[in-house]
């Protein structure tokens, strides 16, 4: 399985329209809904926000990874949004977030390949070079090429 199996071009938003945490969650969830990854967008959003309440998913360096494991998810998927202005995400380093990865995980899904992919993505985000390249990516193609590095 490749990460590109989870991240469809339609779920990438090169310039996020929203400027608030809550709104961005909705915007990206909307993209996932359009690809048919979600069965119930409202339920999924609620699970993402409740996870955010526990502790912010802003992991620093301008990256946030809101995620939800929910009955509202039909199949595992990733959405990616880039904010050109930066968003306050209560990140642990207090910096504004520019890159948002949203992870949708079904409550029940046979196998754990999708989880391993997400695990690899999480580990990859710690890599300075990877983050820098991602921040500079100007097109969906470039992002795709970067993402293709992640596989299991």
């Amino acid at each position: 399985m490749l990460i590109t199996d989870l991240l469809k071009p339609e779920s990438i938003q090169l310039t996020l329209e929203s400027t608030g945490k809550r709104e961005i969650v909705s915007e990206l969830a909307g993209l996932l809904q359009q690809t048919g990854a979600l069965s119930d967008q409202a339920v999924f959003e609620a699970s993402v926000l409740s996870r955010e309440k526990e502790s912010s998913t802003g992991i620093g360096f301008g990256i946030a990874i809101p995620h939800g494991k929910s009955e509202g998810v039909a199949r595992p998927a990733i959405a990616l949004g880039i904010s050109r202005t930066g968003v306050d995400w209560d990140s642990i380093d207090d910096e504004d977030v520019t890159i948002v990865f949203m992870l949708a995980i079904p409550q029940h899904q046979p196998g754990n390949e999708h989880l391993k992919i997400l695990q690899q993505l999480s580990r990859k985000l710690v890599d300075d070079d990877f983050r820098a390249a991602l921040a500079e990516a100007a097109s969906k193609e470039e992002i795709y090429a970067l993402m293709a590095q992640i596989a299991i």
């Binding site: 996870r51 526990e54 502790s55 998913t57 992991i59 620093g60 990874i65 995620h67 939800g68 494991k69 642990i92 380093d93 992870l103 995980i105 754990n112 989880l115 391993k116 997400l118 695990q119 993505l121 999480s122 580990r123 985000l125 710690v126």
Partner: protein, 480 residues
Amino acid sequence: MKLLGITACPTGIAHTYIAAEKLSRAAKELDVEIKVETQGSVGTENVLTDKDIAEADGIIIAADKGVDLSRFAGKAIYECGTKDAVKDPKRLIQLFLDGTVVAPQASKKLKSVEEAKQEIRGKQNLIYRHLMSGVSYMIPFVVVGGLLIALALAIGGEPTPTGLAIPENSFWMHISDIGGAAFTFMVPILAGFIAYSIADRPGIAPGMIAGFIAANGSFYDSSAGAGFIGGIVAGFLAGYLALWIKRWKVPKMVQPIMPILVIPIISTLLTGAVFIFVVGKPIASLMNGLTEFLNGMQGSSSILLALILGAMISFDMGGPVNKVAFLFGTSMIGAGNVAVMGAIAAAICTPPLGMGLATLLRKNLYNKEEKEAGKAALAMGLCGITEGAIPFAAGDPLRVIPSLMVGAMSGAVIAMLGGVGDSVPHGGPIVALLGAIDNVLMFIIAIVVGTFVTAFCVNFLKDLKQRKDNVSNQKQAARE
């Protein structure tokens, strides 16, 4: 340094792995080995083995949910959230590098006498260890000699104008002679085993022979021998010479005869020569002067001596200071002065007896463990083992040690003034049972007084502290 980590977050999707990755990278930068177990949605990966845990210097638990810590009993553990590991993993590792996070103390229970002694032994320097090795081999000879001579005098002695004397050719004269034979080994054995401790087997012959020369003034034109000081000098001289020769680089052919021939002969000759031509006489006159000075000590100066000896014996309960005083007393027995050892014999047993009595007098000041240790201390005190007080002194040195010293000093002074003599290098009531004590009544009085003084002092000080604690507790309670 080798660290272990466990990361876990509620959903186990992202933070578990980000935290793990952060820790691994930070460890690499700080040149620390780390293995991180991830407890995530995929299950537990990179599982820490028993071997990992055994080898680890510390464990970082970066988790936002419960992690079973039972595997890590007795290890240095730092617990935090995944957030902390993501945000500043280096700081977490630095905590271990700086020693800020340490393994929990096994428990605050009293150290046993053995443990405490072990700890002290670890800190002793080499010179002291060699000296004590020699002393420990010498003591049985002094005990046998002292006891047999004392017995012979007590049973077979007849009063003469100059004191008790054993009639020539009587049965008890032979017993006394056996004791005398034991005494003649005292200094050679001391020197021999100091040298043995330093240089191993090649040191024994030069050490013993040099010790024998040291003990016999006739070798160097002196009426008196160089005594135990001479023995110590001889032992160290022979030992270090032998050790030095042992390290010579010699052809392979010569090697087998080094320990049995070359080393003993050269070091014996050199040490013997040094004694005969250089240090023998000065040390002998020093020893002689010391003995005469002590024999001449009466009244106030003997009280001062008893005070010093009592303080030294009880100060570290079997440690170096104690042993110096003890060695001094032992050597004085060899020189015919049993009063010094008499004072020491009383001081030896008052610390454990006093602590034992203290736990009986004021039960509320001591916890269960201390009461148990108190009973053991009583038994050890009766047998003349000062170390019985160590568990108490280790737990509360500021209150216990001064009390022990005051008690031991009072005991020693009473024994000195009461004319108590002890002809074996050992203390406590048991020596009286062996018949080695002159003036048993005063000896018992000295011990009883010293014991009570110790117990009262220590209970007084502990009581003060308890009251102070109570007051501050009440204040605290009032404030809250």
